[in-house]
Amino acid sequence: MERLLVVSSSPHIHSPLDTRKIMGWVLAALAPAGLAGVYFFGVRAAAVMAVCVISCVAFEYLWQKLTKRTVTTDDLSAAVTGLLLAYNLPPSIPFWMASVGSLFAIIVVKQLYGGLGCNIVNPALAGRAMMLTSWPVPMTTWTVNGVSGATPLALIKAGAISDLPSWTDMFIGNIGGCIGETSAAALLIGFAILLYKDIIKWHIPVVYIAVTAALCALFGRGAAPLQEIFAGGLFLGAIFMATDYTTSPITTRGQIIFAAGCGVLTALIRRWGGYPEGVSYSILIMNLTVPLIDRATKPRIFGEVKKHG
């Protein structure tokens, strides 16, 4: 019997939460926002999500097969990237563009840097940024209930505060915008799921949203702080994108600095930038600072006094 014994170094038990389960819970937490997207934008939103998820998983599979690596699509991380990318696209985006965006996110941003855990920026956001630069018009055409119109953030930017949709519409997501970003209510349900299952901690989303709200008010944008945070992709970005493990700092202290940085950049872009929305670029820029933040916020080693310099 003992011939079959495994001999290894301790510890010998593991927490049941593994990569695949974490990604599964992220997908589950994203589901309410997806359902809201389909409800408000119609079946085409579901089709965009399907295209992105299938493309991302397929590109990861093909890349790993072609480069003779272990295929890791079963960890569901590519599916998460695909779904997040779809949530960042307008429902009317042509399918081929969504597919090219997925290709960029998975191959260029994720796999070329070494795959899961090695990318320096969030793949879904980088994919969206690439698409926004390449196809600015299809990427900023918003339709809701068959009518195209300006997003709340564009209205705020233009100073047309009185034209803003009602509070309830902004909260439940009945406004123009990307598929997964408009329903703050659905995204908050997702946040609750992530917190309950201990997938993320509260610090990044709360600090990010609070700093953005405070600074937008301070910069005198005219809209009420709640209108600012319900508008645009702030909830989606703060809850699901800025909390991406790989591209956020490792310690709580670092995460607070990171989130505050995201908030400052978002408010600056919204107030003075060329775009109405600044969430994706703020997160992408702050992603690049993560190695520095990690170095600066190393935990204090037990028993050691903090070294200078």
């Binding site: 079959l4 001999v7 290894s8 038990i13 927490s15 855990g117 493990y245």
Partner: protein, 445 residues
Amino acid sequence: MKLPTFWGGIHPPQSKELTVGESIVSYRPQGELVFPMAQHIGAPCAPVVAKGDRVLVGTRLGNNDAFVSAPVLSSVSGTVKDVTLRLTVPGTFETCVVVEDDGKNELAPEWRPLENYETADPKEYIKRIRDAGIVGFGGATFPTAVKLSPPPDKKIRWLIINGVECEPYLNCDNRLMLENAEKIVKGTVLVMRLFPEAKGIIAIENNKPEAIALLNETVSKSGAENITVQPLAVKYPQGAEKMLIEALTGQEFVITALPADVGCIILNVRTVYQIYSAIVEGLPAVTRIVTVTGDAVAHPKNIRVPQGTMIRELIDLCGGFKEQPVKILAGGPMMGMSMRSLDVPVVKGTSGILCLTAKSTMLKPIRACLHCGRCVSACPMGLVPTVLEPLVHARQYKRFEEEGGMNCIECGSCTYMCPANRPLTQGCRDGKASVAAMRRKAAAK
């Protein structure tokens, strides 16, 4: 009330219910017993008996006069059958004395209670503790006589009796406290004679309410003034030396320092029990309580066995295996050592035999690090395991040292938490061993 604890740590499933209600049963081994000469931290013993010698319970089988050492005593009476290499717990062959048990269980004549022990010079205790072969029975097996002889300039303010038992599955200390509370308290009183200025704290994790209540009652009944029973929050590794001192005294200390440097001495409950036994009852520390448990064992038990008993006999006593074990460990699941054979003897540091099935070991493939930070939140030492492990892998030992890798206490919390199943603790252990080897090599030059 918020119970004292430390920073970091994890909450693995306790799995103590398998044996928590099992009273300690005594077992008499059959046939031969095997006594490895290296059973403690410090200088290993050399055999002082030869083939054919008659030995009694408490007869010295091995000794070393080095300061940091403890003798190895026979746990049975019988004849020395051989002095040879035998397989031991770590899977290596070590010099062992093999004794054929005659079943008479005759105590060696030199073992008598210490006369007038209540008024005797406490220095006598130290000698007795060493002679009885007492080491830290919590698992680290540091010779207790050495621990109780701190340099005179170190003022000992706390004597901490460790009944935390934070390792999942194990119940040997818990059962000992439930069944021998009085001897533990009396042993503590004896040790406190060595450190009259110290405050005695019996620390128990709050998942053992019966032990806490019983010891509280015993302490107040004994009239010992300077001893308190302190419940601690349930969190692994609460029983680790540094975490225990942090929780109880709020002090931290660097890796190179010893508890005595911050005025603390920590003894396991089993160690205090053996001290009492050696001084008052005149018995050598030759038995050990072993929790035989795990989901592969038919009838898990807490067993009092003479040291040197073969582990296979204990498994048989527990009804053998009901399921195929995948790992058999000496110790708990977090820091225990996995064994490749059951034909190894129980030694001073064997606190448990844990037989895990494939289901409970959860052997899973190693995946890429997600940078999720769970290891960082878990590390009680404030390290970043996900940075340390790749450094060891790349053999960058200098950077490993700079990042504080030598501080790792190998508690296993980071590996337990890692969703990608990365061997983080294992990496640090490897790194520490490599650095230590390089230091030894440099010192030898």
